[in-house]
Symmetry: C2
Subunit: 260 residues, 2 copies
C-alpha cells in the first residue's frame, strides 16, 4: 500500500475507534432529537457531535482537503477536484434512536473523483469494514473475498422503504418478485455491507445522499461488483442518486428490468 | 415460578445450548440443501438434525406430551389438549443458508391451549429470549421491560416479502406508509424479537405456520402487547395465520386499516 494511504488508513481507524466509544458513552445520557424535513428524517445531537469531531480531525491532519458531511460542518463541495472526504456521522439515525443498533459511521476519501479509501463501521457489532484502492476489502482486518456472482433469482434483494411503499415505484417494486426475498435494514451503509458479504445479491434504493453511497463505490469496485444509478450511469456524488449495488449478473438483470 | 415450569425452563435452556453448539460446529462442513414447495422454501440437513435432536429429548423427558414440528418428526396434532410443544428448528432457513446469520431456534409449550413457555434463540448473536407465563420476558436471563405503547406513526413496521410484493396485498401494503419506515429481517422469530425490544411498533405477516408464530403469543401476552390474526381473532395454532404482533395502539390502528 502506498505510504500515504497506509498512514491515512491507520489514522482513520484510530479516529473511528475514539469517536465510536464516545457515541456509546454519551448516547444514553444525552440524546436530543430534532426533526429535519419530515417525521422520519431526524437528526440527534450525537450525529452533530460525531461529524464535528471527524471534521476537526480531518481539518487538523489534512488542511488542504475538502469535506462533504451530512450535518453541514464540512465544506460546500461543487466539484471532485483534489482530495474530498465524505462523512456520514450516523447512517441509520432512525435505527440509532429507536433500536439502539443497526447504524453505522461512514467515511470515504476520493482523489480527483476516484475513490481510494472507504470505511463503514457497524458501531454496535464493532465491525469495521474497509476498502482500500487496489488492496481489497476487509472486516476488522480480515480480508473479505468477492461474493459469488449470483443472479437476482438466486439471491435476496435489499431495498428501502420508499420503493416498497410509494405508488410511483410500482414497476420497480415488481423486480423484488424475481428475488428469493426482500431484506430491509434501514441503513444504506449496512445494506452495502450485506452486498459486500454476499448476504443479498443486490441493494436498490432511491434518492440517496452522496454520503450514503460514497463508501459503496470502492467496496463494489474492489470486489468486482457494480455500483451505478438506475440508468446504469456511474454514481454522481454531487447530487442525490437512485442506486443499484449488485453482483454483475444481478446488476444486469435489474438495470434491464428498471428500464423496460 | 411453579416447580415444573422452573425445571422445564432449565432443561430447555440446556437443550438449546447443546444443540446450537452442534449447529455451529456441523454447519460449514456438512450443509445439504433441498427445495420444499418453491425456490425460496428450502430445508437443510441441519433443520432436520436440530428437530430430531429436540424431538428425541422431548419424547425422552416428557413422554406424554405431543410435538408439532416444522420438519415432521413430531406428531400429527389436531387439537391443543394436554401439553403441546411447537418446534421450529431453524427459523429463517434462507438467511441460515445465504447469510449465515439472522436465524433462530424456536420452541414453545402450551398446556390445554394456553401458552406457558416460549423460547427464541438468535444463534449467531447468542441471545436467548424467553417468556414464561406470569414471569415476564428475558434475554439471556436479564428481564425485558414492556416497550412504550407507540402508535404506528411513531414507530417502524416489520413485515414479510409477500405483503410487500404481491398484488393481492396492495391495500395492506398501504398501511406501511403510516409508519416511520419498514424493516424486514426474514425470520418470524427475530421479527417477533424486534417487537419485544420495541425496535418496531408492529410486525405484520401473511400465511405463517404454527411453529413460526407460537412463541410470539406468550411474548406479546407477558409484555401487554397484542397478537392476533388480521381479523383480530386469536391466533389458531392448528393452521396458517395472517398475523399482527404489535403495541396496543399500533394493533388497533392496523386492524382498523386492514379491515377498511
Amino acid at each position: 500500500m502506498a505510504e500515504n494511504k497506509l498512514n491515512r488508513d491507520k489514522t482513520i481507524t484510530k479516529w473511528i475507534d475514539e469517536i465510536s466509544r464516545g457515541i456509546i458513552e454519551k448516547k444514553d445520557a444525552q440524546l436530543e432529537i430534532e426533526q429535519k424535513t419530515s417525521a422520519n428524517d431526524l437528526v440527534t445531537n450525537m450525529d452533530k457531535w460525531v461529524e464535528k469531531e471527524l471534521v476537526e480531525r480531518i481539518r487538523s491532519s489534512y488542511p488542504e482537503d475538502r469535506i462533504l458531511g451530512e450535518e453541514g460542518f464540512g465544506d460546500s463541495v461543487v466539484n471532485m477536484d483534489g482530495t474530498v472526504w465524505f462523512v456520514d456521522p450516523i447512517d441509520g439515525t432512525l435505527n440509532f434512536i429507536l433500536q439502539n443498533e443497526n447504524y453505522a459511521l461512514m467515511l470515504s476519501v476520493f482523489e480527483n473523483g476516484e475513490p481510494v479509501q472507504s470505511y463503514i463501521y457497524d458501531v454496535t457489532l464493532n465491525k469495521l469494514y474497509a476498502a482500500i484502492k487496489g488492496e481489497g476489502v476487509s472486516c476488522n482486518g480480515q480480508p473479505i473475498k468477492s461474493p459469488k456472482d449470483v443472479s437476482l433469482s438466486e439471491g435476496m434483494l435489499a431495498t428501502n422503504s420508499s420503493i416498497m411503499t410509494e405508488d410511483k415505484y410500482d414497476a420497480i417494486r415488481k423486480i423484488a418478485r424475481k428475488s428469493l426475498g426482500l431484506r430491509l435494514v434501514g441503513s444504506a451503509g449496512l445494506e452495502t455491507v450485506e452486498v459486500v458479504k454476499g448476504s443479498v445479491a443486490a441493494y436498490i434504493a432511491t434518492n440517496l445522499k452522496p454520503w450514503d453511497i460514497a463508501p459503496g463505490v470502492l467496496f463494489m469496485e474492489e470486489l468486482g461488483m457494480r455500483a451505478t444509478q438506475f440508468d446504469s450511469k456511474p454514481l454522481d456524488l454531487l447530487k442525490n442518486n437512485n442506486i443499484v449495488f449488485a453482483t454483475p449478473k444481478a446488476h444486469e438483470e435489474i438495470i434491464r428490468l428498471i428500464n423496460l
